[in-house]
Symmetry: D3
């Protein structure tokens, strides 16, 4: 998900502009225009850092100097200094909250993602942890990137990314077979095809219709187990990727993953995020 | 926070456009352009609904018909139908995820806010529950509005809203007195002045300097108690609003509020949101 | 009203782009791409300078060097050089008119504002001179900032700034009391409340209802006097700010201000502006 | 200057959005969402109305009904009703100020333009009154259109409109002849060529070089007279349009126009505008 | 590639706005605001029609009525009426050129695409015809959609669509193997992987590394033949899709396609387009 | 058509952003963030180069160094290096296709334009070659500029540029005379007036009505000849510019131009462009 700086900047200035309104009136009245300062960005609790690339682009775009002490994806302990910033004091104070909002959210997402991927790894499972499109509205780029930094899979980046036939599509079309047939007729060679199924039989139907990925939606762990068993019996297992989705929590993720799926996906990674506590402190006036 | 429909639409189309990329390829390949359908938006768990106004504006703006069954601010039980939607099937399916992301996040925020305001109300306390500017980046409007719907106080809508002298301002200026003096010299008559203090003495200083609101930052409940006691002794209590901020959780909110502050504010309302589970189901093709 | 450079630039490029259309065809045909020049920005008449911050951000953003000789808020005499500019000649000539339009309008507003604030100051009055939201469409930021530079009060920066219950609100609600009651029920603690009244009795009602500011709308100076007298008699004077608005002109401003109001506000400061005559002259080719 | 509604709307929503910020908090707290009302837009003083087309597009775009009683360009007396509006009360109150700012400015410009064109017409002169690019920053479209409605000439709409060689171009190039030669070599056949001259001799040089229009810049009326006399003597008069610009005021416009120029242009039409007093009154709740 | 109308409109208004500048001055001066008319959009030559969906959205968005007589993808003969339009004459005339530019370009692309896909079909070949990202700058959506309507494959819609390791990536990384290895380590499960190779040996290497698609770049038909032969010998043929790209023209497309590749791709489909001649004629005033 | 860099950048980032989507995933996975490289932009075939100014602004705006070896308008042979680029490898690879799309299209347009202007020049004809508004949608600026670089005339840059009364205007108004009359009544002095005529008699009518340019639309060369003859007979020839438009091809351009028209215009210059083959090659890692 590499974006050249200028393309990313447009997203960042929009976010910053909303917070500024007609301007930072407190800073304008209390700090002189020619004051310069140094500040530190500090993680107040431990976790996986994400958003540093965006932070630096924002800070440098505003004319500040930003020294990066911790790279995206690194694990830090509480009270770690992530970055040293220097430049015009007014600019530092006006961007503080927007900067921290980006870092805190992205780091929170990366931290939870890492916890889950580590849990699976320690259980000796190769299952991937994926997010969904259940993001904070408008934050697809930032939320997906944070998941990637945390070691998770980004799943679809938007609706043009892969074919994903969902429950409502099937409800409209009438059957799994017909849905897959319509797609196969016209789809570009460069797209994978995934289908969401709600029964073990539909999983088998989809596998036989030769899709790339089957999403077992809202299956219990034992239903997942039976679906895997049926696919093995029909010699389809291993020829299609299996994704378990729905009902998965940090508490039950092992019981899903251990049943033989390739991917477990959780909306909560990005829609029920716990922000990492990060703050900015002015440490010196120049 | 009333915005005429057209001004709100611009925010909504930006959010929708990111999710669409070059278009919904699954829907285009599986659903014919002239198909129409009815669908229901359903809360899968109980909570306070928020975002209905935004949902309707988005749906109607896209040419769909949207019947509202539950208004913003209403409490619903699990499996409640929030809205019935009808129109072009392709449009319904393409907007589904963006619509639900807005509703789920706003309802999640409103639900947590209501839980806290109810807790205080049941404890017989008139303390206000406020959010902060710790929102998902770019979602100030939506997050603040959801807090308001949940019965909370929106606090500053952006940086031009009120004077709020924070720790870093004081670090730059040198003292609470000087910070307040600089502001008072020039501030518009239509702005209130709040200052964040980190000691009981600074709270007294600020009260004597005649600010409108004092934020007791990262005070323990007993420190809050001592600050209140000191202000009472100096006959300043009641002449200035007191806001407790930092370290406040759903678990300890009563112990803060009961010490005599007017406002308790929590960043987590908007930065560590738990989305309400809401889904959309196509129920009939026309 | 501090805005980081990048956020302000977006406003400036939009203004510049409209004037350029598909490009400056005269300059393209007459001046070679590698020509560089020096130019001076000169006030052709005396006044208070405003817009220099915006000017420098625009010029530097375009890659020009801009030396500031006169700061925002300074009083200059006719023929004063405000800034020396150097860089690519084509860029200087293409931005000339947009640059001067910003400087001339902002300086014109600041100059008129200063004249009025000086008039009050010389009369020994502490009354503030405020503008309104009657600005050139789309120029709230620039017009308000110019007023501030001229020593005036910016009043509301937009509609989310303060509660201001106006005549039409009261017409819809039915009474001053009910309007204030509705607001007090729900308003955020960080907002002041102002109400516009059209009679002396309503002024008293509003004062008793404990609003922060009362706008005496279209009162004559003697009506203002009677309102002040009544508030004094009822011991409400001094407990609420009083703003006189409507009908106020440079000619009668003293007669209003001397009656005991805290603020006099005039739409004409920003809607019937006289531009300060400022020009740009190329003085040397390099 | 016909723009289809949708293209014009984008300009209007930007203007409206700035004034709204995060929303009209007063209206939201005082007026219920389902209230509807009727209102009138009233000219409080007489003048030439302009901006009605923009007003209607804005009002209808916001879902209001707008009945037009006075068309753009019509002369009205004080207290004339320009339009009757009906629809959602919240929308009417939130758009009121932005609507009036557009109408007041455009009508103010049209009114002053008409006064000058009438003055010339009554003096029996066919001279055109033109504005310049000295507009409020960003308001080229609105300001130029208002001049046109007032009977004036819009002059260049932006920098790609016509070749206009100005003083600074000549300063860079070195001579009037060389400047014209460079342009003539390459200019598109669909552009006219105008040149600004500061001496009578340069006017003759330009006329002989066969430009379309000569701008006599900062000439006194008697200098204009001598330039005309010289051109007549050289049999160039009538073969090139003459524009007098700079120093022209309502007071001396006749003395300029009567000397034989085709166009008189005044920056003040658009940069030192006096707004027409127009207001909106809610007259009935439905 | 389904986009809800509102999201598509934003692209269309930007295109229209550039052509309008400050407005259609010819139409404004010649046609009265209340004139309405009927017009026909007519293909002056035969071909495959594309862009009708966009055309209707633009016309209806502008308040015109548009009757569609020919759907996207249909083949028409010269002088076919594609659509009947009615509504405000000024709007019809102002949008005419932009409307035709979209229809002509998209129909030209669809027509050439259909010619090539038909040529292959008649030769009994199932090879897909694909475009590339060599589009007119900024027209990815329109150009890709036109290819799809013409029966071609859209290939990547943007850079986040599929992994495509190109010559310059390999030049940077050093080898085909290493490039594939790096990607396989981290790529999302929902992405296919394609690699561009310039030698037959690299094609075999890539096939063994288990990519999804191999692009044979700038191969001659006989080189393609040898690559296919080698893959067959190594029993890799059929396990990976083969795409021939570079040097392919309408003249030699059969000789490439008949060698056993799955896809032939041509930049010229979208970068060297021949517009279909389409015009608009006003046929009646109402 | 000079645009300051910042104004041009906005167009360029929009184009780049569409191609990037959520980011260049291939480059992100294969190339490290701190890798830097040198690359060359090479014309693979001979032609007239255009778009170098835009290319450099894009590259420098992205933080790359770009050395220009060939200026806009220069003729190059196959395999010429146009520019050497150095900087962050990821940025180079991510912008490659967008950069080449701009250069290839603009150079293709400039090359065809130059071929035609040279053909006329060698035939000893001074006739200008002009393009029309038949451009790729949204690319008016780039397409027109490329024509100019190729030695052609840009014709109208948008609809506010010149009065051009077209067939549909006349169909609406009823007659050539009336159309011209309406325009002359109100048109700004700075606009030329052109009218499109479809008969020799209408050409004479238009000439007598004193327009600036007459477009002979879809005339055969012999009809052009007869029109010229008639205008000569009526002593109108030379007093009005004549433009032949419609049906003109590279093959018949001489036969049109030699009949005595001042301008020949061809839509195909910009709507049926053949891109010049230009590529980018990474030549060294640093």
């Amino acid at each position: 998900m590499f974006l050249p700086r200028k393309v990313l900047e447009d997203k960042l200035w929009d976010i910053l502009a909303e917070d500024l309104g007609q301007g930072d009136i407190t800073t304008a009245l209390t700090v002189s225009a020619d004051s310069t300062a140094e500040a530190e960005v500090i993680a107040k609790e431990g976790g996986v850092v994400a958003g540093m690339e965006e932070a630096v682009i924002m800070l440098e775009g505003l004319g500040l100097k930003a020294e990066i002490l911790v790279a995206d994806g690194q694990i830090v302990e509480a009270e770690s200094i992530l970055s040293k910033i220097s430049g015009v004091t007014r600019t530092i104070l006006s961007v503080e909250r927007t900067l921290l909002n980006i870092l805190s959210r992205m780091s929170g997402i990366a931290t939870m993602t890492r916890q889950l991927t580590e849990r699976l790894r320690k259980a000796g499972l190769g299952t991937k942890v994926a997010c969904t499109r259940k993001v904070a509205p408008g934050l697809l780029y930032f939320d997906k990137k944070a998941v990637m930094i945390g070691g998770g899979d980004t799943h679809r980046l938007h609706l043009d990314d892969m074919i994903l036939i969902k429950d409502n599509h099937i409800a409209v079309i009438g059957s799994v077979e017909e849905a897959i047939r319509r797609v196969k007729d016209q789809v570009s060679f460069n797209k994978k095809i995934e289908i969401e199924v709600t029964s073990i039989n539909d999983a088998l139907t989809a596998a036989k219709a030769n899709v790339d990925i089957i999403m077992l939606d809202n299956f219990s762990p034992s239903e997942v187990e039976r679906a895997v068993k049926l696919l093995k019996k029909e010699q389809m297992y291993g020829k299609v990727l299996l994704e378990a989705s729905g009902r998965i929590t940090p508490a039950n993720i092992i019981s899903y993953a251990s049943k033989g799926v390739d991917i477990v996906s959780l909306g909560r990674l990005t829609e029920s995020t716990t922000a990492l506590d990060i703050s900015l402190e002015v440490i010196r006036l120049n």
